[in-house]
Structure formats: C-alpha cells, structure tokens
C-alpha cells in the first residue's frame, strides 16, 4: 500500500502513472474492450459507440469550458460542422474516411477560430449568449445550404471502408471509434502537462492575472476554441459514419445542453469527469427506455407517463449534481477511491 507521494524530480512529478499497476490495469481494460464486439449485442455496441463519440465530444468541450473557463453553448454547432464536412468530403470529393475525418476536423477547428473571436471581447454570460446565437446561425446555414447539405431531407453517408471492408455494422465501427477515443484521452492528458494546458488553466482561474504574467489571452483563448472544435469535428465525423444519415435535427440546442450536462455531471476540468459524464448521459435515456418498456409490458397505459420522465430525470440529475456535488462524478470517484486506499483513516 502506498502512503503519500515521494517525488524527487520535476520529471517524476509530471508522470501520469506513479507505479506500473495502473498501466497494467489500463492495458487489461483496453484488451477487454477490444473483445467486447465478439460478445455484445448490436444494441449495446450501438450504446458503446455513442459513448465513445460522446467521450471525444465531452473532452473537447471540457477543454474549452472546464479547463479554460470559456462558456460555450455552441458545441452542437461544431459537431454539426464536423459531421457534415466529413460527409460532404466523402460524398462530393470522394475522399476516403481516413482523410475526410481529419480534414473535416481541421475545417471545424477553423470554424472554431471564427467562433472564438467573440471570446476576446466577451466574458461569462455575454459569451454564453453569443455562442447561443452562433449555434442558431450555424443551424440555419446547415438547413438552408441545401445544395451542399441536403438540408432537412437528410444526407446519406456511405460506410467507411478499410482495405475494402465496409464498416457498416456497429461491431466494425466500434474499432474505428475506440481507435480514436483512446488516443483522444491520452492526448488530452498530455495537453495539460504542457505549457498550453497550463495557460488554459491560468486563464480560467484568473485571466487578468494570467495576462499580466505574460500569458497571451488572445492567443490561448483562440487556441482553446480551435482545439475544442477539432475534437468536436472528429466526434462529428464519427457520428456521420455511425448513424450513416445526417439530419440537422441531430444537432439541436438540446445536444449542446446534453454535452454541457456531461461535463458538469462528470466533473468540469477533469478528464475522468468527461468520460464519466459521457457514459452517464448516454446511459440515462437507455435506462429510462428499459424501465418504460418493462413497465409498459405490465401497464400498457403507462407509456405516455414514462416518456415525459426523461425530461424530469435529466433536469433532476443536473440539479442534484450541481447542488450536492458541483465537482461531479469525478470527485465522487476520487472520494470513493481514497476511502478505499486510506481506510481505516479518513484522510
């Protein structure tokens, strides 16, 4: 049992894992993950795929909101740009997915740059409202630029092909999604060991003081938007390949709110929190659906009631977490872990 930390150099301080045990556990976990598609049903694979996509999106949003403190309600717009850009590049320009997705993500990042410009002048609430407006403007553009996006009629996306094998089932696309999710988590973790990451955190905590200290607000705020939208672009591209048909309806304001709920419930400014939040918010409607279906079997007339339960449960979950555990599931996890490792002492 470890007691306390014992670091003797800056290098060791920056290490992600102190001992080999977490690394082994992580490798085993990833191995188990790779075996999942052989045993799970399409339904659960679909859920896991959506979780994977949500993790990437949540990480992106957390970088912007949780780590840099820039409130953005426009995340759904970024996802939309990433998704449609990927689809258009593949269908109209004939690019294969391994070029289309990164290119689309870069496009989304450029879009994020434009989005981010208001953040240089606006703070807090006004920034939030500006991102809200930007969301509507983007959605309008997507719906009405029909020659490119096919608007409300839906844009069909052909499956990605790897060496001629089409990734057209949840089991196959699982590998693609998690091949991107795992590195995304690692990259984010490393981001916050670098100068850039520290600058972000400084801006969140006290931006005026940070700029006095020499952190260029101009540069790093925009960078935060750019990086965050890159993640969203990747997530959007994966969404395009997972659902295979894109509708503007898939990117409503509620999606942006769902992502915000993910990082708040999961834990703002925490990578583990993004993962927890993504899992929680994706599973919540599924659990409710299961309840509804099993109850409907017994009380068919109750179906209507359960449908509205989703809104209520979502709202209550958000309120509950914000009131009792503002730092989210990540904090609860840390507490449970330390309870376990430090028992019988409490700290």
């Amino acid at each position: 049992m470890r007691c306390g930390g014992f670091r003797v150099s800056y290098r060791s301080d920056e290490r992600i894992f102190d001992t080999p045990v977490p690394i082994v556990a992580l490798v085993l976990f990833l191995g188990a993950l790779a075996l999942v598609p052989r045993f799970a049903t399409t339904y659960w694979l679909d859920v896991l795929n959506r979780i994977g996509i949500a993790v990437i999106g949540a990480l992106g949003l957390n970088i912007l909101v949780g780590f840099t403190g820039q409130i953005s309600i426009g995340h759904a717009a970024f996802l939309a740009v990433g998704a449609y850009a990927t689809a258009i590049l593949e269908v109209n320009a004939g690019l294969p997915f391994y070029l289309a997705i990164p290119l689309a993500a870069l496009l989304t990042a450029a879009f994020g740059l434009v989005f981010g410009i208001p953040s240089l002048r606006l703070r807090g609430l006004y920034l939030a409202i500006a991102t809200l407006a930007a969301h509507f403007i983007t959605t309008f553009g997507i719906i009405h630029w029909e020659s490119m996006t096919k608007g409300v009629l839906g844009f069909m996306v052909p499956p990605a092909t790897v060496f001629g094998l089409p990734l057209d089932s949840d089991a196959r696309i699982f590998y693609l999604i998690f091949a991107l999710t795992v590195p995304a988590v690692l990259v984010t973790k490393n981001l916050f060991r670098t100068k850039v990451g520290r600058a972000f955190i400084a801006i969140r905590d006290r931006d005026v003081a940070a700029s006095v200290m020499g952190v260029s607000l101009y540069r790093y705020k925009l960078l935060a938007f750019v990086i965050s939208s890159f993640y969203a672009g990747v997530a959007g591209g994966l969404m395009a390949h997972h659902s295979r048909i894109l509708f503007p309806d898939a990117f409503t304001l509620l999606v942006a709110i769902d992502y915000l709920a993910m990082i708040i419930i999961g834990g703002m400014g925490s990578i583990l929190g993004s993962i927890f939040g993504a899992v929680f918010m994706t599973l919540l409607p599924e659990v409710l659906k299961l309840t509804a279906t099993s109850l409907t079997g017994v009380y068919p007339q109750a179906f209507g009631l359960i449908a509205s339960a989703r809104d209520i449960v979502f709202g209550l979950a958000v309120i509950f977490f914000l009131t009792y555990e503002p730092q989210g599931l990540a904090r609860i996890w840390v507490r449970m872990r330390s309870y376990w490792t430090l028992w019988p002492y409490s700290y």
Partner: protein
Amino acid sequence: MTEQLVFMLQLVISGIAVGGVYSLMALGFVLIYKASSVVNFGPGELVLFGAYVAWATILQMRLPLVLALPLTLGVAILLGLVIERGVLRPLIGEPLISVIMVTFGFASVIRGFLNMTWGSDTRPFPVLFSQEPFRVGPVPVSPVHLWSFVGVMLLLGAFSLFFRFSLTGMAMRATADNQQVAQSLGVSVKWIFALSWCIATCVSTLAGIILGSVRGGVDFSLAELGLKVFPVVILGGLDSVAGAIIGGVLIGVLENLSGGYLDPLLGGGVKEVAPFVVLVVILMLRPYGFFGKVEIVRV
C-alpha cells in the same frame, strides 16, 4: 400609398404588435437578473407553465375569470418560491456555468412535469379577447396584440416607478449591486430573491396567457419562443426594464422585415435567425448590449 410602402408598414406594425409579446417575456428575464444577477436560461418554460395553469383553471376547472386569474397568479408565485428556495438558494456563489445549467435543469423538469400532467396535445385556449381585428391605418392588428402592448407599457411604467421610488425596489437594486453590503444595511437578501422570482414568474404567466390567446392553443412550442428573449435583452440590456420593452419591439419589427424581404430571397427561415445575427453584431460592437452596465473586472 404605394404598394411597397403599404407592405413595409404592414410588416412594421405587425412587428410592433408581436414585439410587445417578446417584451413581456423579456421583462420576466430582466426582473430576475436585475434583482439577483441570475440568468434564467429557461424563460420559455416559465411562460409555458403560466399558459398551462391558466388553461387549467379556466377551461379544465371551469372557474370564472375573476377566480381563475388570481389562482393562476397564485400558482405562479408558488412556483417562484419553489425555484428560489429549492434550486437557486443552494447555488449562491457558485460559478456562472453552474447557475446556467441549473436553470436548464429546472426548465427540463417543468417541461416534463407539464407533459406528464397535461399531456402534449394542443389545448385550445380560452377566448379572452375578441377575434375581430381592427385597423391601424392600412394594417389590421388583432386585439390580443394590442392588449399585450398596452399591458407591457403599463408594466413598464409600474416597474420603473417601483424600482425608482419604492423602498423594496431600491432594495432589489442594491442587492443586485452588492449582496453583502445590502445585507449589512438590513436588507433581507433571501426575501428579495424570493420576491424577484415571484414577480418574474407572474410576468411570465401573463406572457403565457397572451401567447396562448395569440396562438389559440397551448402546446410545447411556446417554450421555443423563450430563446428569442436573448436578442431582446442583449439589445436592451440585461438589467434594464425600459430596454426590454424597446428591445422587444425592435426585435419584433426586425423579424418581420427580414421575413418579408429576405425570406423570399433565401428560402425561408431568415426570420428566425435574423435576431441572432443582430445579437452577435451588437455584442461585437458593444459587449454589454446597448443599455447594459459595464462590468469592471479586478484581479
């Protein structure tokens, strides 16, 4: 008058009429912000709540108007208290993002609750105003819009006086400015918060009644209108009552003009997005809105 001019006038006047309703909704938002610096991201749901309760008392329970109206307002007050006590009180001092999300949260709860209790069909709204339009020049205006405009102006007058001259009003402004100082001077901050939420819910309820009458029915789409509040309050200033009125009317006119002139060019939908474009432009030029107060940030 030339046909073009008549067309434009029609758009402008009906824009003013619709704008009156926006002002009413924005008023609810501004009141909360003015007194407690809380941003309500669910104004639509409050309006929806008011509309449904009004419908329930008038049509479902069949109470006469004289009883129904105070009952509706009473329920609105209750909601205001519940929100303030249960939801916002624990979040005093928490960062802005938490407060914003919490308002989304209870908006969701209200929506789910309404769906569960009254279902989601469109309920025909009781006819409280006559249907016959009367004319302002060449333009027909429905009486509902006129009443809402009149109502909004009355409320503007009432609230301006309230905030300026009454003790409670001044206490509210003091609380919004600096809670600790206000408290040290004897203002009961808790009571001020509760009061501001109750007033806001009542105003939202009135907005809901007006909207229900305009549309002829209550259903969940009323909540979507709520987001239009933001262009209005950015234009008018987050804490300015007069600004809410002016902003509402301007946005209503702007919407109609862009709808009338730009929709045929761009294929529809411009009407809904134009206020948000304006919002972004204003924020870039004047980050605190036209009438908002500038915040000074210290390290």
